[in-house]
Amino acid sequence: MKITALLVLKAAPETSDPVILANASDVSHFGYFQRSSVKEFVVFVGRTVASRTPPSQRQSVQHEEYKVHAYNRNGLCAVGFMDDHYPVRSAFSLLNQVIDEYQKSFGEAWRSAKEDSAQPWPYLAEALTKFQDPAEADKLLKIQRELDETKIILHKTIDSVLARGEKLDSLVEKSSDLSMASQMFYKQAKKTNSCCTIL
């Protein structure tokens, strides 16, 4: 369940390659010498996929051991490199969020970008770390998970309530026995009290 990289590109309409607007990659689990090549690979595959994604379309491509998810909205394209276990839906909702955030923070300035921007975008980096857990990205998953936990807790509660019911039943029995016994006791006392004339 790992996100390896997140990219935001401007998908150019024709010919030219998409322009990278933001890039965040997590290459920590590769060896030191492989990191730069992995970054290059990410950039290249990201450009290819973005150029092949038509606007307002979502696409998922399997590349070696990564799934590359791309979402193109109006020329602004978000690409994510995830492994196979990452649920597709949360991936796309994550890309949605990224694009919304980018549009909010940069407005329409990206439309004029002609070359890869080198400034890192901190939001993307922290998004990368935050959304390693798919539940964070996808509210639905989070809700579903919480609901399942709640259901488990409720099941336990019902079990304990049943046990409580059993205990209450035994208590009722005992208390009724006690009441009977005390009644007998009272009657006996009254009886011995009534016929005392012998002694």
Binding site: A11, P13, E14, T53, P54, P55, S56, Q57, R58, Q59, S60, R73, N74, V88, R89, F92, S93, N96, K139, L140, L141, I143, Q144, L147, D148, T150, K151, L154, H155, T157, I158, V161, L162, R164, G165, L168, D169, L171, V172, S175, S176, L178, S179, A181, S182, Q183, F185, Y186, Q188, A189, K190, T192, N193, C196, L199
Partner: protein, 341 residues
């Protein structure tokens, strides 16, 4: 008897008919009087004529009922034809409904008439003296009429079921037609795309105009509540790469599925809470009972304790009395001893 085969008689029985009409006319005056003393012994001399009048009255009624049943079955066959015929045209609906109502009324009327007939037959079978053959005959006639009425009712039911099935088929067809018409209305909206993209299928956005239209319709798509909006997407991407269609579909479908799951989970949770509340309230009752038992026990024990205290008191006070009694006893013993020794 003219009654039995009112609808299938090919023999010319008009002479019989005239004779019976004459006898009917003769007996119609006394039959009106004899309507009252059915139960008692009215005029014995009018009994044979009244018996005949009753019998012919019975047969007349039976013939009327048979005729009515025949007419009803004819109408029913017409209704069945109409119901089978109505495929796409909705015109005979009203007629069908009218016919249905009429047939229903007739059937209920016939039911009532049959019951009356049976009652009449029973009544004058008990009172007047007629042969056994006539009774069996009238019984057979009544049974036959009843069977015919049952068959008619069954046919009526079959026709009604057939009609409902046809109506359902019609509704499906109408739905299909209406769906196709709505799809066609969406198509010209996007129809420009294939014309433009045919020369260059690899270019994603051939016309800015088409791009604008598709983008405006795609603004709806990335909403978080994307449930069943796969159709406009299908329209757009149909001319594009084919493998995108199942992906969009699966994306939307998976979202829809997830939402359904969430909804059903919440529903189950609601159920569980309700059960929990029920159990707790039941156990509350049990707790109240326990409380009452304990209070009873407390009262009993307190009462017993007071009794014992009193007993103790009485015992301790009694000792004083006991000593006195003892003394008296010893006194008596002394006196006794003195007497003996």
């Amino acid at each position: 008897m003219q009654a039995r085969h009112g609808q299938s008689s090919y023999r010319d029985r008009s002479d019989e008919f005239f004779g019976i009409v004459k006898s009917r006319r003769r007996s119609i005056a006394p039959a009106a009087e004899n309507n009252v003393p059915y139960g008692g012994g009215g005029g014995r001399r009018e009994d044979p004529r009244s018996a005949a009048a009753n019998q012919s009255e019975f047969s007349k009624r039976a013939s009327l009922i048979g005729l009515a049943i025949h007419q009803t079955s004819q109408k029913l066959s017409k209704l069945a034809q109409l119901a089978k015929r109505s495929s796409v045209f909705d015109d005979p609906t009203r007629e069908i409904q009218e016919l249905t109502v009429v047939i229903k009324q007739e059937i209920s009327g016939l039911n009532g008439a049959l019951l009356d007939l049976q009652a009449v037959r029973n009544s004058h079978n008990d009172e007047s003296s007629i042969s056994r053959d006539t009774t069996t005959h009238s019984a057979t006639v009544v049974d036959d009429l009843k069977n015919r009425l049952m068959d008619t009712t069954k046919e009526f039911k079959d026709v009604l079921t057939l009609r409902t099935e046809n109506m359902k088929i019609q509704e499906d067809r109408m739905k299909k037609f209406s769906k196709i018409s709505s799809k066609e209305s969406a198509n010209p909206f996007v129809r420009q795309r294939p014309l433009a993209s045919k020369p260059s299928p690899s270019q994603p956005a051939p016309l800015p105009w088409a791009n604008g239209s598709s983008s405006s319709s795609s603004q709806i798509v990335p909403s978080r509540q994307g449930e069943a909006e796969s159709s406009p997407l299908l329209q757009q991407s149909q001319q594009q790469q084919q493998h995108m269609v199942p992906l969009q579909d699966t994306y939307m479908q998976s979202r829809a599925e997830a939402l359904h799951n969430v909804e059903s989970t919440i529903h189950e949770l609601g159920n569980i809470f309700t059960q929990l509340a029920t159990m707790v309230s039941q156990q509350g009752e049990i707790a109240i009972r326990i409380d009452q038992n304990m209070e009873d026990t407390l009262a009993n024990v307190e009462g017993a304790q007071s009794q014992l205290a009193r007993y103790l008191n009485s015992i301790s006070s009694n000792r004083w009395l006991m000593i006195k009694i003892f003394f008296v006893l010893i006194a008596f013993l002394m006196v006794f001893l003195f007497f003996v020794a």
